[in-house]
Symmetry: C2
Subunit: 431 residues, 2 copies
């Protein structure tokens, strides 16, 4: 156990270029990661619990720092929603510390054996999970990401290089200082969790270009941030883009179930990526008017095609753009479709491949939907708002991946690992 640590880690060096800063931090992170990769499960869990304690002990300092950010945000005219995301209080800070302890309690993925085999020549093969290495997180205003992302990376044996948004700069620094204090108290390497010490945007570019130094970038934030990261990165990116999620109410759906699912999928929280943006109603579904009436009564604006508009005079006509729009608001596009194939065709054309659902009591139709819809998450008779790592039993998530490689859907600890092949022989040479 280290007796003390200087919480002012990673100071900027005068005159250092963004590229030199990233290289210096990445090299330190990679050295720390080698030590982290060899820490055992109880050691990493203890380090996270120690970080949680340190964060609780730093409540006054973190809230004071957060007050600076909130004041600056008000002066800069941040929206109420943005200020709410930014603001910490004792309860929210306690929840962040609780989350660290919850991640500490998750099973360690490192060392898990994915599969084993033995070859006819006696070679014994196993694939074993190992950390990815150094992960760069580029995120916007929520200061809880500083702790959440650090915890998931550390739990899976990865070092992390954090670059938070300017709005939360004081909060992020205070949270980071507390985390590092706690981690070091428990014997974890100081550079396992580093925060970029400058808000110079050129540092983001240098991180994206740091192939060979940073192993993966995870952008967390709005569409423009993620799109910029994807467009510029030379480092592999685990990205979460749009959630244009569909619910298709099949002819053989129970009206009450369909109505409850549609209402929940759209209105439980409208601002999350798993919220439904388009409702497809089968022309043969008898409960269509009841479902749309429920949505309208919950103050959801509906925009329909011609047949949907005929269901209720309160439905506005949709424009062509509506079918490709992630509203993230109490607005829903509605189309009437002729059967499963028409629904599948609409989903194939307009889905962002995040989460799509069907409501039906016909098991064969459900299986066809599950098999033929090419999205990260495909659901039968459930609300698309279940698209979440916690709801999937993964404990926590670093994001919901909409790309096709490495990991799809909610990405938790396993998605922050890769594997290696271990081969045990007894002197075999290849003929």
């Amino acid at each position: 156990m280290k007796a003390s640590v200087n919480p002012a880690v990673n100071p900027a060096v005068a005159g250092e270029t963004p590229e030199a800063l990233v290289e210096r931090m990445a090299r330190a992170g990679r050295i720390a990661q080698r030590a982290l990769a060899l820490m055992d499960d109880p050691g990493k869990a203890a380090a996270l619990r120690s970080a949680a304690s340190a964060l609780r002990a730093s409540e006054a300092a973190v809230l004071a720092a957060n007050a600076l950010d909130v004041a600056a945000g008000k002066a800069n005219g941040l929206s109420g929603a943005m200020l709410d995301r930014l603001m910490l209080d004792p309860a929210r800070l306690g929840a962040i510390a609780d989350a660290l302890e919850q991640v500490a309690a998750l099973p360690d993925p490192v060392g898990q054996v994915i599969d084993r085999s033995e070859r006819p020549n006696g070679l014994k093969l196993s694939r074993v999970r190992v950390p990815i290495g150094l992960i760069g997180i580029i995120y916007e205003s929520r200061p809880n990401v500083t702790a959440d992302a650090a915890a998931l990376c550390l739990r899976s044996g990865n070092a992390v290089l954090l670059r938070g948004g300017s709005e939360a700069v004081h909060s992020n620094r205070a949270i980071h200082a507390a985390l590092v204090q706690g981690l070091c108290n428990a014997g974890a390497p100081e550079a396992a969790v580093q925060l970029v010490p400058t808000q110079d945007r050129a540092v983001v570019g240098a991180m994206l270009a740091a192939a060979g130094l940073i192993d993966m970038i995870v952008p967390r934030g709005g569409k423009s941030l993620v799109a910029r990261v994807q467009a510029d990165a030379r480092v592999p990116v685990l990205a979460h883009l749009d959630g244009i999620c569909h619910t298709y109410i099949h002819a053989a759906a129970d009206t009450e179930m369909a109505s409850a699912i549609a209402l929940n999928a759209k209105m439980r929280r409208t601002g999350i990526c798993g919220s439904m943006e388009t409702l497809l109603i089968d022309a043969q579904f008898p409960g269509a008017q009841a479902v749309v009436a429920k949505l309208l009564e919950s103050r959801c604006e509906l925009r329909g095609d011609a047949r949907a508009c005929a269901l209720d005079p309160r439905i506005l006509p949709a424009s062509a753009n509506d079918w490709d729009c992630e509203y993230l608001d109490a607005i829903l596009s509605v189309a009437v479709v002729d059967g499963l194939d028409a629904a599948l065709a609409h989903v194939a054309q307009h889905s962002s491949h995040h989460t799509d659902a069907i409501v039906t009591s016909d098991a064969a139709v459900a299986e066809r939907f599950l098999n033929e819809v090419d999205s990260a998450i495909v659901m039968v008779n459930a609300s698309t708002q279940f698209a979440d790592g916690g709801e999937f039993g993964l404990g926590a998530e670093i994001g919901i991946a909409t790309g096709r490689l490495h990991a799809r859907g909610p990405v938790a600890l396993e998605g922050l690992t890769t594997y290696k092949w271990q081969v045990r022989g007894s002197g075999q040479v290849r003929p």
Copy 2:
């Protein structure tokens, strides 16, 4: 079953830009892939067997096309090794057709359930393997890649866009025409396997830029090809770079085993990525002179550090570059190291993270090496030349991945799939 097919698929359109060509072919490939994703296991296997039959039936046409390439290669002064890679004869063409049948006989990864769980609210989750989508293969002179890569992609439900090297252009076209004839005869979509109809290098750039149209690029060829692809691609790349493979002979190694493994690891085939490039000999290993003598007698050039040179006067002094050099030839760098930690440090500094091996009879030392070496493949008491999909029981491989994400080491059918989450509910809404 289609009665006939025009083998002159994908004709170039006059005046079409490289971007328009790639977009047209990619869209056709994506439509074909949707059909392919729904073909069942026997259907895909039958299509590959049909392709093998068609290739055998096209022997005369393929060999005549290949003769054109070989003649052009000679006229253009291709090296003997390059001409040998390019040249087909009835036996080699038969082996390519056999390989198609072997891939047909492999288990279909699509639809395999990776894991299942049930949530307290009754939601049933399963992760199911699905194809990646449309895969672009960019390769150099070996015409067998045309058939091998197409077979692996098709077996795993992916469509493929092939762009072969100019040296093999006639061979590739003839092989491709036969494959498509065979696939279509068995009811597979014609655009499942497409060959870029022009050698314009700008088409490679357009493929690399086609994010959203091509899901993954696999470069197969020399270091400069792979490096160019990695530097320029906006599409995710599954890349295989250097194989700077080490073998560490620990103090407690059996001399005869160590000698046999070192000789095989270096000299069985010197030109493959799994061949050993650096031998680390423990200063306490008593059989060092015997091991180096065996290598020298097999006409391997040894380049050593000072202590290695002291083992035998025939060893040349190594320069600093030698420790980072992939010779792919009968040349080996040799260093004497003081114990496991020094060996691990050398490997950490110089390995390309492809394959590294230890020879030891000490089980605890072996386990430390297996755990602490951060390479795609780590071996104990075996030759690094076993780094191969066939030797690993995977049937065939699209390459040996040295990156960290998605797949590592030999990549076979499983590496050509991703997964989706299927969620089966009974009306659940999220509280």
